[in-house]
């Protein structure tokens, strides 16, 4: 399946994995820090 | 869980209600015999309004029990609500409707059809032919309309939260008449007030609230002299 390969398709694959780890890792770090501000902006309570 | 109520009036035991991090009513015991009238005194924020709203089943208690006629008030609220009427600061009127339309709307919601609002409005001194919306009325007039609406019902427990507020002297006299009339009919009354000298004579017992608790109870006549601010 090498001839149908889209040029630079690994870039998309890497982007997907980096986004996954970035998003999940970022959220995990906030939880570990213990004081996350996960609520969307517009109000505090 | 608690023992049965001792009498068939209003029995309150350990009543508590919180708002967020604060207990507005923090363990109140009350006994109002059937046909009696209780005056509740206390500064702003002492818990009078919350107490009355709990008695009216507007708020669920977070602790404690209330019985009315030996029935648990909150648990049986669907059946008991027609017997309880609360007159609040908020008029609960529809501001875009006239006084007459307001009475018609509320009467119909209570299942009364063919009511003539004229008599009810005459009773509180509002001309029945006024067609402008309640929005244009003064605060005192709105309260009179609210009183007229309360009088459409025949409750057995009548709760009045600062009934004198915004009323002129004839209006205050009217409240006195209404209370006397209701008492003559055997209606039990709980009345929150800032004016013990005026409302005291209408009642036969008084309590004073402070930070959600009863700090004093006695005769209304003693309240006037002892607790005037």
């Amino acid at each position: 399946m090498t001839d149908g390969v889209i040029e630079g398709q690994w870039a998309y694959v890497w982007a997907a994995y980096v986004v996954t780890w970035g998003l999940l890792g970022g959220y995990g770090l906030r939880l570990i820090m213990g004081a996350p501000k996960p609520r969307p902006p517009g109000g505090s309570s | 869980m608690v023992n049965r109520p001792e009498h068939d009036g209003l029995v309150v035991r350990g009543l508590a209600r919180r708002f967020g991090p604060r207990w507005a009513v923090a363990g109140v015991d009350l006994d109002v015999p059937s046909g009696g009238a209780l005056m509740v005194l206390g500064a702003n924020g002492s818990g009078k309004t919350t107490l009355l709203r709990c008695l009216a089943t507007a708020l669920a208690p977070h602790a404690g029990d209330i019985w009315w006629r030996r029935r648990p008030l909150w648990a049986d609220r669907a059946a008991l609500r027609p017997d309880v009427v609360l007159l609040t600061h908020a008029t609960r009127l529809y501001e875009d409707l006239s006084a007459r339309d307001n009475l018609l709307v509320w009467a119909r919601l209570a299942g009364m059809t063919g009511l003539d609002p004229r008599a009810a409005l005459d009773r509180v001194g509002i001309p029945a032919d006024r067609t402008e919306p309640v929005r244009t009325f003064s605060a005192g007039m709105k309260r009179r309309v609210a009183l007229a609406r309360a009088l459409l019902r025949t409750p057995s427990l009548f709760l009045l939260d600062e009934p004198l507020a915004a009323l002129d002297p004839p209006g205050r006299a009217l409240i006195g008449e209404v209370v006397a009339e209701q008492r003559a009919r055997g209606v039990t009354i709980v009345l929150a007030s800032h004016h013990p000298e005026t409302t005291g004579p209408w009642c036969d017992a008084a309590v004073r609230l402070e930070r959600g608790r009863v700090v004093w109870s006695g005769l209304p006549s003693d309240a006037t002299s002892e607790l005037a601010p």
């Binding site: 517009g42 109000g43 | 009216a56 089943t57 507007a58 708020l59 669920a60 669907a78 609500r81 027609p82 309880v84 609360l86 609040t88 908020a90 008029t91 609960r92 009127l93 529809y94 501001e95 875009d96 409707l97 339309d101 709307v105 509320w106 119909r108 919601l109 209570a110 299942g111 919306p133």
Partner: protein, 226 residues
Amino acid sequence: MIRLVQQIAAVVWKDLLIEWRGPARLSGLFVFAVAILLLMAFAAGSVEVMRKIAGGTLWVGMLLASTRSLDQSFSVEAEQGALEGLVLWPVDPLALFYGKALANALVLFGVGVALTPLTIAVMDAPIAGSPWVYLGFLVAGSAAVAAPGTLYAMITSQARGASVLLPLLLLPLVMPALLAASRGTTVLMEGDPMDQAGGWLGLLIAFDLVHWSLSGLLFSRIVENP
């Protein structure tokens, strides 16, 4: 049961009376929807595009108008604390919900009926299919917005930022109904060559059934402050 129906009727009558007496409420809604209609017509440019988007425009106008009317429907209750008064009067919470939802649906239906000839004229999109099915779409579509709308308007009228919160909650929820209603009316305007209108109407009615039953239950569960 009879008592429930009587109370529902009383609530509908009350809401419509307030809507009628209120200063320029209905006409305001209508003008609002008309403005959206005109904007979309300008944006469309050509007649072919207008015809294609006529159905969608009608429903976007209805939907945006509904967020205003639903908001008003509970701001009159909130203004002097009437909502609590109704619960204590006592009005059965179910009657309160179905009465208000019915009144809201009627108002919306009225806006839809008034908007129809204008849409046809402005967008040059006559209803080629059955006008009765079209009317069915107006009824079912108004009902689809009114049921969850009444529930959410009750909630947001007592929260901060009510006017932002209501569309934020309601619009994604009624997306399927909007899709079904606007696709259905659009194919009706095209004469329904592939016989799709019935399917879309079915979807809309299914949405109505789910939300009219569920919202009533949920409303009566939360209208009393626990």
